[in-house]
């Protein structure tokens, strides 16, 4: 099953490679991983999307907790949470397709952030499945390039992850 795990870790050189190394050494899979410093510059917040049986997920959270740089670990999928991903897509937009592309972008509440005579660059945020749906909705042959950040997650309501 898919799980989204949030990790609060010391913002130190090499902390990311400890997490990435742990996943590859123990054969866990990483669907996506995002990391950046928090409002407290000594801490980084990481969101890992992974998949595995309950036993594997239990081991993943235990092994993450065992890393000396890791301060806290929460499996967001254990409760209500919100997740968002940012995608930038460069598409070919010529002739009548130009209008259609704009319309689909509006429907998905995306924004066109760069324009040339031949193409658009579209910015879109949402859950991973929404981004997938957008890519399906537009003409596949029009896609020139896509960049996705991977999911970032946060608990709903008073579910807070901090030191």
């Amino acid at each position: 099953m898919r799980h989204i795990i949030s990790v609060l870790l010391e913002n130190e050189a090499g902390a990311l490679s400890r997490v990435a190394g742990l996943f590859s050494a123990r054969g866990y899979n990483i669907e996506s991983l995002t990391v950046a410093p928090t409002e407290d510059a000594t801490l980084s917040r990481m969101t890992i999307v992974t998949a595995g049986s309950d036993e594997v997920i239990e081991q993943i959270t235990k092994q993450l907790n065992k890393l000396v740089d890791v301060v806290k670990v929460v499996d967001l999928s254990d409760g209500d949470h919100i997740e968002r991903e940012l995608m930038l897509v460069k598409v070919r937009a010529l002739g009548k397709d130009r209008e259609e592309m704009k319309r689909v972008t509006d429907i998905f509440r995306g924004r066109i952030i760069d324009v040339t005579e031949k193409d658009y660059t579209i910015e879109l945020t949402g859950t991973g499945s929404k981004l997938d749906a957008f890519l399906k909705a537009i003409d596949r042959s029009a896609i020139l390039e896509t960049v996705r950040t991977g999911a970032s997650g946060i608990g709903r309501g008073d579910r807070v992850l901090r030191v």
């Binding site: 870790l9 090499g14 190394g21 081991q59 907790n65 065992k66 000396v68 301060v71 030191v163």
Partner: protein, 565 residues
């Protein structure tokens, strides 16, 4: 007053009360060596290969409960040390390894003797540091010793670039340390312990299964007390030998791939399993599916949450330091009005004695060729069971584990997790330095000993009177055994032609060499060797080439599917 980074490193070692540093100098650590030279509180032991340094520090740590310290240079110094670091990591041994690094401005430029030390060692250390600023050395060293020796212990690498050892700053060594990201659990959950006690009281066929965690947390006395209070049978893993007295009637011997018949059968057929500081390793429980086929309730005490429910799902997990948890158990057991079911226990012991009467460790005592088991039995007798015994890896290691009855912890020093050939001799150096007057034996084979044999030179330099017990069958014995059992007797590359004359070899290093070829000469040779309290004696025992280690649980089989003699 400002000190250089190198001075600070040495001052930190002094502050930590470090007795010995095992190491090998090189370009990147010259300033640290210069500072070691100028003082005499911390003694340096010069090894002949960096692997030997880390193993020696390991032997020191295992036999004393103090972290082992080693010092190696950058690049090849580090890569040579990696086997030693991984060995310590797999067996959770506290160590601090200081490694030199090229100057900070040269890092990443493929400088001479540069390697990515933090990257290379990351998967085999508890933690590691690259110190880029001289002002961070003292705090980092404090953290390194703290992390290495608390919680589930392990090796910590501190990588220090050469320019950082010459830069200057004020020196303050922190007295205490707290890290928000590292807080090992010490006390066990009282409710869980209560639940476990109830289960133990209701057990019909109980079993206590303990591992290296009992040794590491210094809980041998507490374990003995718990086992006696309960009246249950007890087994140790390879790493746990000595945690429970081997000569005690309640002890069933080691379990696992080469465990005793009675220990493995009791493990397989128990209804309540009390696992303490052990991790259900693949060499211990055999095929997990077969192990699960018998229903049983499992209580598991371990300081590392990730060791719990890793290979085997447990019913009552208790996270905490084994010694603290066992003390709580003793309190609750003594306060409890309930007693274990004596009737059921009696029936269980009758069954166990039946298994024990199978005498699974028997061997041919009339052989005209020296049986390796005979050598270990005599070693046990001659040393009255009081020696520190290190071993390498293979058949000789299993025979030592089966036939030397360890009544005390920290006497049996071997590489259980990684299974590192070449560990025995350097580990014995660390043990002998920590216990200068004790009898230290290194049980080895002609294949393993050659992997770190250069350390015989170190032994001469520091006058270490180690007794090397070389069980020489001219084969990589365990490899040969597997080839006999599972590869149609095709002994691919397991026979070693052109072995050295070990007697002359020992002599050329300045030691005493002995070759023993007849069973009746075994005991006199051992007696003579141990009477030479100042000399390293290398005993080359010519043993039966066809002897195998029994019982054996073949790979993929279950614990009760042993091959017996």
């Amino acid at each position: 007053m400002e000190l250089t980074g190198a001075e600070i490193v040495v001052r930190c070692l002094q502050e930590e009360g470090v007795e010995y540093v095992f190491g090998y100098p090189g370009g990147a650590v010259l300033f640290i060596y210069d500072e070691l030279f100028k003082q005499n509180k911390v003694k340096h032991v010069l090894v002949r290969h960096e692997q030997g340094a880390v193993h020696a520090a390991d032997g020191y740590a295992r036999s004393t409960d103090k972290p082992g310290v080693s010092l190696v240079t950058s690049g090849p110094g580090v890569t040579n040390a990696v086997t030693g670091i991984a060995t310590a990591y797999m067996d959770s041994i506290p160590q601090v390894i200081i490694t030199g690094q090229v100057p900070t401005h040269a890092i990443g430029l493929d400088a001479f003797q540069e390697c990515d030390t933090v990257g290379i060692t990351r998967p085999c250390v508890k933690h590691n540091f690259l110190v880029k600023d001289v002002r961070d050395i003292a705090l980092t060293m404090k953290k390194a010793f703290f992390i290495a020796s608390t919680g589930r212990p392990g090796p910590v690498v501190v990588d220090i670039p050469k320019d950082v050892t010459t830069a200057k700053t004020e020196f303050h060594y922190p007295e205490t340390i707290a890290m928000r990201s590292y807080n090992p659990v010490i006390k066990g959950h009282t409710g869980q312990i209560k639940k476990a006690v109830q289960m133990l009281m209701q057990a019909k066929r109980p079993m206590v299964y303990t591992g290296g965690g009992v040794v590491l947390s210094g809980a041998a006395e507490e374990l003995a007390q718990v086992v006696r209070l309960l009246g249950f049978p007890c087994t140790n893993t390879l790493m746990g030998l000595g945690a429970y007295p081997a000569t005690d009637r309640q002890f069933l011997g080691m379990l696992g791939m080469h465990g005793t018949y009675e220990a493995n059968m009791a493990m397989q057929h128990c209804d309540v399993l009390f696992a303490i500081g052990a991790r259900f390793d693949d060499r211990v429980i055999g095929n997990p599916k077969h192990f699960f086929a018998e229903p049983r309730t499992i209580i598991h005490v371990d300081i590392d949450p990730s060791s719990i429910s890793k290979r085997v799902k447990v019913d009552v997990p208790i996270v905490g330091n084994v010694r603290d948890v066992l003390r709580d158990f003793i309190r609750q057991l003594e306060a409890s009005r309930e007693k274990p079911d004596q009737e059921a226990l009696k029936t269980w012991w009758t069954q166990i004695e039946l298994w024990r009467s199978r005498d699974c460790l028997k061997y041919d005592r009339t052989s005209a060729i020296i049986k390796p088991q005979h050598v270990i039995e005599k070693l046990y007798e001659v040393t009255r069971g009081e020696a520190f015994v290190t071993s390498d890896v293979g058949q000789h290691q299993m025979w030592a584990a089966q036939f030397y009855k360890f009544d005390r912890p920290r006497r049996w020093i071997n590489s259980g997790g990684l299974g590192t050939m070449g560990f025995g001799l350097p580990a014995a150096m660390g043990v002998q330095l920590a216990h200068p007057d004790a009898a230290v034996a290194c049980v080895t084979g002609e294949a393993s000993i050659q992997m770190c044999i250069q350390e015989l030179s170190t032994c001469k330099q520091y006058r270490l009177p180690i007794k090397v017990v070389n069980l020489n069958n001219k084969y990589m014995g365990m490899v040969r055994q597997w080839q006999e059992f599972f590869h149609g007797n095709r002994y691919a590359e397991s026979y070693m032609d052109a072995l050295p004359d070990f007697v002359k070899l020992a002599e050329s290093y300045g030691h005493v060499g002995m070759k023993i070829e007849k069973p009746e000469d075994v005991e006199p040779a051992l007696k003579e060797a141990f009477s030479r309290s100042k000399d390293l004696v290398f005993m080359d025992f010519v043993t039966d080439q066809t002897e195998n280690v029994f019982p054996m649980v073949p790979g993929g089989k279950g614990l009760s599917e042993m091959i017996l003699v």
